[in-house]
């Protein structure tokens, strides 16, 4: 144990006295007066239920009560509770609101719970029994699924790496990141099942994918990690999901890809709002973010050109042109999101446009 109690409480006369007093019926009850912000939150739309936005209406509890730099609470006491003396520090290292905040965070968390699914049953796996894929196509899907298991596991690891370091004042964002962890674990599950269902097998690990994922997870700060994960990684995953749905010829793959796209897009939505919110508050951060993405996108170039990704995509799509077209669209949509988040036009300093020209035969 790293944290040791200051005394042996089993031999503590003070604790014993408290137990004997309370259990003897001598109640103090002074705590009953400790409710300085009475509130009766109600659902603004009963069909939607009681949302985080509903309970955030009272300024004593809502996110507007969070200062840009949290200096008053490093414990697990919930935002708006009475903070008595003696609360310990839990050692949080992310204590700046603009490092994590996104106004859409609470509603994205609500959406993630509401749009839940379970791969075991939501996907009609038996439909794969009659899927008319050739051997090469079948193995191509299983190879892509193998890569998507890896990507999903790391996509679960990134929020896991940061959420426990975040101050409890940002609880809505912590909730959302826990949802991202779970969503990603569920995608890893779904793609493992897809790869192994029927006469199944996993494919080959990709060095380029591993390198790209390591770049993403090793991002030095949470804003850098958020941009690399939610904007870059999930934009490519969303594009892949769309393409898998496009090439699908059965209900199981169609549904799996549809849920994949939905989950991936929630991460993107948080990423766009988070980075926009950060840059509104601290515009100078744009330089560090863009420099980071310049380098992360080099990793993405490696992934997009890796044999374990581009070749099965070519097999499934009937040629390189369809893949190049899907890559171009995905990259353009990614750049649009970056611009929308306040990162400006990334096309000039990103390696991605040159890569697109390369596979389009223009370079």
């Amino acid at each position: 144990m790293a944290y040791i109690a200051p005394k042996d409480f089993s031999q503590d006369p003070e604790l014993l006295a408290t137990v004997m007093r309370v259990m003897g019926g001598d109640l103090d009850l002074s705590w009953m007066k400790d409710h300085p912000h009475p509130v009766r939150a109600q659902a603004s739309q009963p069909t939607r239920g009681l949302t985080l936005d509903d309970i955030n209406q009272d300024p004593a509890y809502g996110p507007e009560s969070i200062p840009e730099i949290v200096r008053h609470n490093f414990s697990m006491a919930p935002r708006g509770a009475v903070l008595p003396d003696g609360l310990p520090s839990l050692g949080y290292r992310v204590n700046r609101k603009s490092d994590v905040w996104a106004d859409h965070g609470p509603s994205l968390f609500e959406e993630s719970k509401s749009r839940r699914w379970a791969p075991a049953r939501t996907i009609p796996w038996k439909e794969l029994d009659s899927a008319d894929y050739s051997r090469e196509e079948d193995l191509a899907i299983r190879q892509i699924a193998t890569s998507l298991i890896s990507a999903s596991l790391v996509a679960a690891d990134v929020p896991s790496r940061w959420v426990w370091l975040m101050n409890q004042e940002f609880h809505e964002i912590k909730y959302l990141l826990c949802a991202h962890m779970f969503d990603a674990a569920r995608l890893a599950e779904a793609f493992r099942k897809r790869a192994l269902y029927g006469h199944g097998s996993l494919g080959r690990d990709s060095r380029e994918l591993g390198d790209f994922l390591k770049m993403v997870i090793d991002s030095e700060t949470f804003p850098l990690a958020s941009a690399a994960t939610n904007l870059t990684l999930f934009s490519i995953l969303q594009g892949l999901g769309r393409h898998l749905e496009f090439v699908s010829r059965n209900a199981a793959d169609t549904r799996l890809a549809t849920y994949f796209v939905q989950d991936a897009t929630r991460s993107i939505a948080y990423g766009v709002d988070h980075i926009r919110s950060l840059l509104t508050k601290r515009p100078n951060e744009v330089v560090a973010l863009n420099e980071h993405l310049d380098l992360i996108e080099n990793g993405l170039v490696g992934l997009l050109g890796s044999r374990e990704l581009i070749e099965p995509l070519i097999v499934l799509s009937g040629g390189l042109d369809a893949v190049a077209s899907f890559y171009r669209r995905t990259v353009e949509e990614y750049f649009e999101r970056c611009a929308s988040a306040g990162l400006g036009d990334r096309t000039d300093h990103s390696p991605l446009p040159d890569f697109l020209k390369l596979i389009e035969g223009q370079r």
């Binding site: 739309q45 069909t47 939607r48 609500e110 959406e111 719970k113 509401s114 749009r115 839940r116 969303q238 769309r242 393409h243 749905e245 496009f246 699908s248 010829r249 059965n250 209900a251 793959d253 169609t254 549904r255 890809a257 549809t258 849920y259 796209v261 939905q262 991936a264 897009t265 929630r266 993107i268 939505a269 766009v272 709002d273 799509s317 369809a322 077209s325 899907f326 669209r329 949509e333 649009e336 999101r337 611009a339 929308s340």
Partner: protein
């Protein structure tokens, strides 16, 4: 007499189906988006709130919509006939497939976040259109 397509009546019939099939739509989760469906030059507005379609309308300003699914009548007809033949879109006629490589159906949008709502709520939007399988349609 069947329900004409395209028409406001058609979208009102789909709207009603989201109420009749409330349990199925609730299972898919929240869906909050206002999007457009353009058939040739005719624009229809579809508003989803929470689980169900709460409003449909004709015309409007596309810039106020999250996104617009746009295609000529023939393509919509082909898609709806596939939905009717299969009890829901077959793999070649899902909204995602039609709007992906080749863009036989266009996705128009001004705001990338609005655009992403198509992907966030794809299953609900597909289920909404799949409800046409139970309608008696007459194409213009």
């Amino acid at each position: 007499m069947g329900i004409p397509f395209p028409s406001l009546e058609f979208f009102k019939a789909l709207q009603q189906r989201t109420k009749d099939e409330a349990a199925a739509f609730e299972k898919l989760g929240y869906c909050d988006t206002t999007f457009g469906i353009r058939v040739g030059s005719e624009l229809y507005r579809v508003v989803f709130e929470i689980y169900e379609c709460v409003e449909v309308g004709e015309g409007g300003d596309p810039s106020e919509l999250d996104f617009v699914l746009s295609a000529p009548l023939d393509l919509w007809r082909e898609m709806l006939e596939a939905i009717q033949a299969n009890g829901g879109a077959d793999a070649a006629h899902t909204i995602n497939t039609l709007t992906h490589v080749g863009d036989v159906m266009k996705v128009e949008y001004e705001d990338p976040e609005g655009h992403d709502r198509l992907y966030r709520f794809m299953a609900t939007i597909q289920a909404f259109l799949d409800e046409a399988s139970g309608l008696d349609l007459e194409f213009a």
